[in-house]
Symmetry: C2
Subunit: 355 residues, 2 copies
């Protein structure tokens, strides 16, 4: 940390030219090459670097975009953040990480704080939404892109996925491999994803294809491993009349890992006794043992799409609200797949890693 920085005025003086010429020369717009030469030299000698704040004030652009979620520690949001950063950084945009808090009210506050003009746009993935939040987003002084629910009809740019259908894919896969008594470990129902996934499970298990089979739901307090463990303990010890569960659909990968741990505690083998599916297709699920069959919701893709959308909007692309849908797709792995060589007998507590 050292001496104060040189300003454009000082560069101008040093080069013996006007302030305007200095600015132009540095931007390569309408300046003679002699001028450019001269100014560049002066700037270099002074170690000049343009002040972002002065520039922002004048241009009314901060070259910053905020990304806000409730819990930046969640692997899904980390993937989004990474993708967003990768898209935005090459365009000269910085990414500011913010927290929505866990309530709609705190998210509304966050959106309203955009009034301070510290960013040119916001990408937000709220766990809970209501009319007040929708209104606040529409009133926001900078472009806002929502990752989650489709809000196109409300006139809000959004990047969505169909997690309802995603849960359907998981159930279909389990039915296909012959599972008939399926449990569902969901997160809080008052969240957007919780509600959507419940609809997906209810729809899939009341479809004709599923007729006569058994389905039950247990709700976890949160979308975490610990909450999943607790919920799965409750679910798996229910032991319904139809017979023990032979599969569990979890509303995300963290819950699924909790489910697998609970199964282990109860002496159940995954996938033999009980098959388990997750959702989000996170790194942690891919490397887990057994590796997790999971419905990908394209976190990186959604992040990239949202970043591109916000980039268009801050670049003054006008037009009706955009809606980008990323289709869910199932990645089948060990947690639902019988071992490839069933003939081979494994010694106790030995783990087979199919690949």
């Amino acid at each position: 940390m050292s001496s104060s920085r040189a300003t454009l005025i000082q560069v101008a003086e040093r080069a013996g030219v006007s302030l305007a010429s200095t600015s132009r020369a540095l931007h390569g717009t309408g300046a003679s090459s002699a001028m450019v030469e001269r100014v560049r030299a002066a700037a270099a000698e002074l170690g000049y670097s343009p002040d972002a704040i002065g520039r922002s004030l004048r241009m009314k652009r901060t070259f910053q975009v905020a990304f806000a979620v409730a819990d930046i520690g969640n692997p899904v949001y980390v993937e989004m953040l990474t993708a967003i950063h990768e898209v935005l950084a090459p365009h000269g945009y910085r990414v500011v990480v913010m927290s929505t808090g866990h309530t709609v009210a705190s998210t509304v506050d966050l959106v309203r704080s955009l009034g301070s003009g510290f960013v040119d746009g916001l990408i937000v993935s709220p766990l809970r939404t209501d009319d007040v939040l929708v209104e606040a987003i529409k009133e926001a002084p900078v472009p806002v892109v929502v990752i989650g629910r489709s809000l196109e009809r409300q006139g809000i740019d959004s990047v969505s996925t169909d997690s309802t259908a995603g849960i359907g894919q998981a159930v279909a896969h389990l039915v296909e491999i012959g599972r008939r008594r399926i449990g569902f470990v969901n997160g809080p129902l008052d969240t957007t994803p919780g509600a959507a996934r419940q609809r997906g499970f209810d729809a899939a298990t009341s479809a004709p294809l599923f007729a006569g089979d058994h389905a039950e739901t247990e709700r976890a307090d949160d979308f975490t491993v610990a909450a999943g463990l607790d919920a799965a303990r409750r679910l798996l010890s229910r032991d319904p009349a139809a017979g023990p569960f032979d599969a569990v659909v979890a509303a995300n990968d963290l819950l699924a890992i909790g489910v697998i741990r609970a199964a282990g505690e109860l002496g159940l083998s995954v996938p033999r006794d009980v098959a388990v599916t997750g959702m989000d297709d996170t790194e942690i699920g891919r490397v887990f043992q057994p590796s997790l069959t999971s419905v990908s919701l394209g976190s990186s893709e959604r992040g990239r799409a949202a970043a591109q959308l916000v980039l268009d909007r801050v670049g003054d692309v006008v037009g009706p609200a955009q809606q980008i849908a990323i289709g869910p797709h199932l990645a089948v792995r060990e947690s639902t797949t019988p071992l490839v060589e069933p003939a081979e007998t494994l010694p106790a507590s030995k783990e087979k890693s199919a690949r």
Copy 2:
């Protein structure tokens, strides 16, 4: 997204008072309560919210701090980011996420870019360091706190941990539980952590206590699960004359998970045949099966300390370079601990979750 925002001037006009009084009233400094009342009302009517950029230009403070690492997807850095955000946000500071890139040169560029004055301080955790970078940090126009190597002697604020000693703790633990042929899966040696951890392993395995026992190193290309898997395959198939490895120390948790998967492939049971230790004590290691014995380097604590340090410095706390050391400590879990009830025989491919 809607109409343009109100400015302080407009509030002043509306309240029928001067600009200066308006500013003072809004900050509660030296204004009569009548004035405050009046100005507040006007501000409310106009939905005024102060412009962060104008404020920054005048105050020469952005209320932003940058956090830069090579890979924001790494769980360790996510933990640091979370902790940093938690400390800084209540003080009104925003966190800007940046990338150091993978080379020292790109990190130097990043540090030099601070010249643009878009943040009041930087917290950086570089994988590689050299004299040029140290010099750039010392020349930086804003306070910089380094998480990683101790750079106190170079006059740079830093938050460090002793991963060399940490590896020593892992080796000591393995020796204590009777392991004698220990492999080490390290990451790249030209990184600061890679070098430190290698020193730790070499020191621990050449200590008198270890005399006569066997130690070998295999190097992974990166600190990731995939690289750990590759390296562990090579290591475990070496089969040294002294006999097969009965333990593997991994330089971080991700590598350790790769090691456990490799062990599984080779039909080795963890911890029975081979005990495995990780480092960083990440969530992913804690929930893995078997849960991972790991050397905690206090990621959250280091993040918090760095944030506090940068907060002091931007608050004009002067004084000699600070050096905060966070001691490593071992968390023993299933990957090195024999099952609690060795008498109980488990059926094949059944997993026991001790707790």
